[in-house]
């Protein structure tokens, strides 16, 4: 099946800093999403982005499908951004099967 690798595994920031999280994958994709898991365990969908660029407030995401990676940008980070960020994707030959990366743990200090 498709392989997913996220980097970095851990990231520690001061409030106000910017960051870039990366998701590499091993095959073509027809579904790619970014999620934030907050400290209470709730999973929140940030972006559905199998290709192109999207922005939502301080967050934006870009997927370059031909080069098999996606980036999540967080600008002017806040303590509430802390948690785990996952990318999840469906390979081009899969039908319905969504695979998660291992996540990036983000800690934002005040």
């Amino acid at each position: 099946g498709i392989q997913v690798e996220q980097s970095p595994p851990d990231l520690i920031l001061q409030e106000g800093a910017n960051s870039t999280l990366r998701c590499n994958f091993s095959d073509s994709v027809n579904n790619l999403q970014w999620f934030h898991q907050n400290p209470w365990g709730q999973l929140i969908n940030l972006f559905y982005i199998p290709s192109g660029t999207k922005q939502n407030g301080r967050l934006s995401a870009t997927t370059v499908a031909t080069e098999r990676y996606s980036l999540l940008y967080i600008s002017s980070s806040q303590t509430t951004d802390s948690g785990v960020y996952f990318c999840a994707l469906q390979g081009g030959t899969s039908y319905g099967k969504l695979t998660f990366g291992q996540g990036t743990i983000l800690t934002v200090h005040p």
Binding site: Q33, Q42, N45, Y48, Y95, G96, K97, T99, F100
Partner: protein
């Protein structure tokens, strides 16, 4: 709008017991999923379904069974519970089948401990 509802939220089992985690969604979604998340780890796919009557194995199906007799419900059955099944279980759904915006909706999770 309830979205994806999982029950129970917490459960403690003894080794060898069996139980069913319930999942129901009211969005008329075709695709449904069960994931498990061990402490400090990512989500692993157990089983998924692309429609009523259709199920398929994910990455870690051993020790579990599922059924999908209706569009709304996707129960996960644990037979002969083992300590290795201690985890948080998440059910999720997605529209699929021509209506797919791609977005995955999650339930709040069910925390299972096997002692």
């Amino acid at each position: 709008n309830a979205g994806v509802t999982q029950t129970p939220k917490f459960r403690i089992l003894k080794i060898g017991q069996s139980m069913t985690l319930q999942c129901t969604q009211d969005m008329n979604h075709n695709y449904m999923y069960w994931y498990r998340q061990d402490p400090g780890m990512g989500l692993k796919l157990i089983y998924y379904s692309v429609g009523a009557g259709i199920t398929d194995k994910g990455e870690v199906p051993n020790g579990y069974n599922v059924s999908r007799s209706t569009t709304e419900d996707f129960p996960l059955r644990l037979e002969l519970a083992a300590p290795s099944q201690t985890s948080v279980y998440f059910c999720a759904s997605r529209a699929g089948w021509g209506r797919d915006t791609g977005e995955l909706f999650f339930g709040e999770g069910s925390r299972l401990t096997v002692l």
